[in-house]
């Protein structure tokens, strides 16, 4: 359960960071909009992980680590492409 709590807080932090980045991005240049897309995707993916964990944990079921891995892999890909675009 501690691991789960840690994971959830980590995803929340990632969400918070990406929300802050989203608001701080500049306006109309193309690279900025690409980064907006990426960080909004990060935000949504973290939310999906949190919602999935909520669903499993609140019903007393076990979280399938495969999905967490898939989601984390997706997040890594997104962050890497953010670096690629900046």
């Amino acid at each position: 359960m501690e691991l789960n709590k840690l994971l959830l807080c980590l995803f929340l932090c990632l969400q918070g960071i990406s929300t802050i980045v989203l608001w701080s991005l500049s306006s109309t240049d193309v690279a900025s909009q690409a980064k907006f897309t990426i960080f909004l995707a990060v935000d949504l993916l973290c939310f999906a992980m949190v919602a999935y964990s909520y669903r499993k944990l609140s019903w007393g079921l076990l979280i399938n680590p495969a999905w967490i891995l898939v989601g984390s892999f997706g997040l890594v890909v997104l962050f890497l492409s953010a670096i690629f675009f900046s």
């Binding site: 193309v30 995707a41 999906a48 609140s58």
Partner: protein, 488 residues
């Protein structure tokens, strides 16, 4: 919340709950088996519609529906509006996603027989909603007033004249008005932004009401899992989870395939380009390009397409079998698969032959061939799965999770994907040897190799599942060993 002292957050939550009525049992709870993405394809289409609404309304602040200003205002959104490019890109790809989701929703409900009693009217309302969604695509496509969009729409509008007389003038008035570009654009805009959304929302309300009355359709051939889940908060959060994954996918695609605005429409430029509709109309376009439908044959073609639509709408009255389980509906499941295969084949073919008339013989060969191949494979699969004897001692599968039909289909897909992957590997490898490396061919090789790897893993996995569930492989293996032993 029984018998414990409420915490501060608990009391706050209860304050909201009492006033907003969040946990009031207004909507019937969802059965546990419905926590499965396939049950929510329609809901995701609605989520896509909402995204369209939000991005569309923001863009409406800047778009001007007149032929002189349409392209310029679209360009303005792309270049000057904050996140304009993002809005345009997301709007387009979510539109595609909405059409694709609606189609998947329709096919999935067809295969699980959710159109049978008592949900026939839901199917009909759903089909009309599908046509409205296609109408969204058709009307929206014109609005940027680019060469591509105007010339494609002109083809579509020109076909209205081929409809029967009274009908043609009514539709023409609705869509083009007094005639001329300005009237047409304004009416398309009006349809896209007010009329079609209103109609869609009205139909959605009707459908959701009927869903509430009838409930979510039960899965066939499996035991019903006990347990009902309340709409708020659990099912709501599940839907948000699915919507978040859907949103991430759309954003990923927006990032990988950024948009650029094609050239603005001028009659001179349009004369040089070959009109092609957007991908979701390509199958209709391809049918209309068959040689016997040219010229005077056009009304016949339109009637044929209309007939297909009418058959789809009236499906609940055509497919009247009482059974809902897939293994017990060989003919209709086969027809469904043939339908999907034909649409995909027509669309791909249309993509590869822009502007070319298709000779009748070729059309019959391709379409008939597709139907034949898919039909034969499907019916064979039914035959084989029906003949499978019950093996003693092999572990029973619970429910319709992975019956033999699905297994056969999965094997077929895996084998053909493997074949394609090997073919692509070889051809890109040869290309690289002959012509040297370039980005596209190396990327193709990489994709083909990964597809091959996935195929190998998938076939091993399928073999393992097959072994576990039927034990047929074990029997074959022991048979083989017995033969070898008796030989020696």
């Amino acid at each position: 919340m029984t018998g414990d002292s409420p915490s501060k957050t608990g009391r706050l939550a209860e304050w909201f709950d009492r006033r907003l009525g969040l946990s009031y049992p207004l909507l019937r709870p969802v059965p546990a088996y419905a926590i499965n993405p396939f049950y929510w394809l329609g809901a995701l289409a609605v989520v896509a519609f909402l995204i369209q609404g939000i991005t569309g309304v923001i863009m409406m602040l800047y778009y001007l529906p007149s032929p002189t200003a349409a392209y310029a205002s679209t360009e303005y959104i792309f270049d000057r509006v904050y996140y304009g490019r993002f809005l345009e890109t997301v709007h387009l790809y979510t539109a595609y996603a909405m059409i694709m989701l609606a189609f998947m929703h329709m096919m999935r409900d067809y295969f699980v027989s959710a159109h049978k009693k008592p949900r026939e009217v839901m199917w009909i309302v759903g089909m009309v909603m599908g046509f409205v969604t296609l109408g969204f695509g058709f009307t929206g496509y014109l609005l940027p007033w680019t060469v591509v969009s105007k010339s494609a729409t002109d083809v579509g509008v020109g076909m209205i004249d081929a409809l029967p007389a009274g009908f043609s003038s009514f539709v023409s008035f609705l869509v083009v008005g007094a005639g001329g570009d300005a009237a047409e654009l304004l009416r398309f805009y009006d349809l896209h932004v007010v009329v079609l959304p209103a109609v869609l929302l009205a139909l959605l309300t009707v459908k959701l009401y009927m869903l509430e009355v009838h409930g979510i359709s039960e899965p066939t051939g499996s035991e019903r899992a006990a347990g009902q889940i309340a709409i708020f908060p659990d099912v709501t959060i599940y839907l948000m989870e699915l919507a978040a994954i859907f949103g991430t996918t759309v954003l990923l695609i927006s990032m990988l395939f950024p948009l650029s605005l094609p050239a603005p429409y001028t009659p001179a430029l349009a004369a040089q380009s070959i009109p092609q509709p957007d991908w979701y109309f390509l199958w209709i376009y391809q049918i209309l390009k068959i040689s016997i439908f040219e010229g005077p044959g056009l009304p016949v073609a339109l009637s044929a397409v209309t007939l297909i639509f009418i058959l789809l709408i009236l499906l609940p009255f055509i497919d009247r079998g009482a059974s809902r389980a897939i293994p017990e509906r060989p003919i209709f499941v086969t027809l469904g698969l043939v339908f999907i295969g034909e649409i995909i084949m027509l669309a791909l073919w249309g993509l590869m032959t822009p502007g070319q008339i298709i000779p009748l013989g070729q059309a019959v060969l391709v379409l008939g061939g597709t139907a034949l191949v898919i039909g034969v494979i499907s019916l064979l699969a039914f035959r084989l799965s029906a003949r499978r004897p019950e093996t003693v001692g092999s572990p029973k599968i619970t429910g319709g999770k992975l019956n033999a039909f699905v297994m056969t289909a999965a094997f077929a897909i895996v084998v053909s994907t493997g074949g394609l992957a090997i073919g692509s590997c070889l051809s890109s490898f040869v290309y690289i040897i002959l012509n040297g490396e370039d980005l596209v061919s190396v990327a193709t090789l990489g994709v083909a190799l990964s597809a091959l790897a996935v195929t190998i893993i998938a076939s091993i996995f399928l073999l393992y599942i097959s072994e576990r569930t039927t034990g047929r492989l074990r029997r074959r293996l022991t048979l083989f060993e017995r033969i070898v032993r008796s030989w020696n």
